[in-house]
Symmetry: C2
Subunit: 250 residues, 2 copies
DNA sequence: CGGGAAATTGATATGATTCAATTCTCGTGG
DNA sequence: CCACGAGAATTGAATCATATCAATTTCCCG
């Protein structure tokens, strides 16, 4: 097999199994062809590789295709805050649309790949395809709602509740991707989980141990199993130790 | 003067002194006329009146015209989290674009007025006017960046730093509106400031007292004066290090 | 005026952090 | 292939920042 054969692997939204979760959601076949003219593949990212950094001009938006990407900002006195962990089908770079330059940085947590949508071309296609504009608005609205909820979690919840919420959210997203909701790998370190949730690494570790002792979860290094979903989701709502009634815990 | 005379006061972006901060930013005169066909006035809101509530269908986006509006969400166990305080020229309702229904509630902190942009009409105009779509994207990107910074503030900063950041941010926004940056009225209660920043009312009160003793500020009930801006801004190193318009905090 | 919510201030409690000491893992090179 | 070293994670003890509890005081608003 020769190098030119790689052309066969040209990224295409029409053939992508993530299309229904991702940018092309809601597009007709013809419209998707238009989007396909714009989308580019990106070389695979290795753990630690940056997709973009804070301050870079906004050349593109990106869709995670495989693996996972973390977004973070830093303050000028050195603090770093992780904004989110992004899984396949999720769009990153939206924050950069304010000033046409990225205000956060994106780094791969593991070997990952992404699709690239050059920004000016993308907005041009949006102008031609109303359904794409609608979807862009939806995605940005989702990002805003997501951060609203995160704000509530960090500002109002105890350490246990934050971690329960984090695990429930991951679990839900894996299910939506067709993976197991009860058993998955955490691609981020305890340090990163703590940073994201406004906790120290020690607190994260202690709470994982506590959850394991209570048999809410089983955790081995990076691999985690949800054993008692009702209890875990009870915690998301703030009920200290009530294992009854559960509901969406995003 | 008769009631019909009120027609004279039909809201119009073309004549609005906030146009450069608000949705019509960057539009030509012709384009602004298109937007004017869509914008509606809303009856004045009194303190405590809701513009919309969580769960309401997204009928419109709103621009604050005068006064101030707070947005908040609540969790299913009753916690409430204030997401932001919105001043004239700022757009609210964007979070509802995910599911076409509001995920947070908007309430007036004082007598306020707003402009209403019926959502379907607005997106239709966006499809006709590329510059308006661009501006919508910018505004949504701004909202996302704003929440990123807030997340950092709440998750990584001490109580003093959070309050200093809050005051600096308000001050900056008042200046951009053409009001005094050094002397203004806090339209929100201590309770609401605390809720917004993830602190209790007692902590907020104590820190205001401390800042006053140190002569960073003078505060009399709702009226506040910035006396020592450098010290205050020294306390809020926590804002994102974007080199562009890095004026004050957040 | 007068009642009640909002704000202030002080004393105490506590959840999470910090400091410290191991233990565990994994990648690397001999 | 194994041993080694360094980072990651765990666990315990002490500390601290902020919350909670409690008591006034202030100041709107009716």
């Amino acid at each position: 097999m020769q190098l030119v054969d790689l052309h066969k692997f040209k990224i295409s939204c029409s053939n992508c199994n993530l299309a229904e979760l991702c940018l092309p959601r809601g597009l007709s076949n013809d419209e998707m062809d238009e989007l396909d003219k714009v989308v580019r593949q990106t070389r695979p990212l290795h753990k630690g590789d940056h997709l973009f950094r804070s301050g870079d001009p906004l050349s593109s938006l990106y869709a995670v295709r495989s693996g996972s990407i973390k977004l973070y900002i830093h303050s000028n006195d050195g603090d770093e805050q992780i904004i989110g962990f992004y899984l396949p089908g999720e769009i990153i770079g939206l924050d950069g649309m304010e000033h046409n330059s990225h205000s956060c940085s994106a780094v791969a947590l593991e070997t990952s790949s992404s699709c690239t949508f050059p920004y000016t071309q993308l907005t041009d296609v949006c102008k031609k395809i109303p359904a794409l504009q609608d979807q862009m608005f939806r995605l940005m609205g989702r990002e805003i709602s997501y951060e609203n909820k995160l704000l509530l979690t960090i500002s109002k919840k105890s350490a246990e509740e934050r971690i329960a919420t984090f695990l429930s959210s991951l679990s839900l997203r894996f299910r939506q991707l067709g993976f197991s909701a009860d058993e998955f790998k955490l691609s981020m370190s305890r340090q990163e989980i703590g940073n994201y949730l406004g906790l120290t690494i020690e607190t994260v570790s202690r709470i994982f141990s506590r959850f394991q002792k209570k048999e809410y979860i089983a955790i081995d290094r990076k691999y985690i199993q949800i054993l008692d979903r009702p209890s875990l989701e009870g915690l998301c709502k703030g009920n200290s130790s009530d294992s009854k009634n559960s509901s969406a815990c995003s």
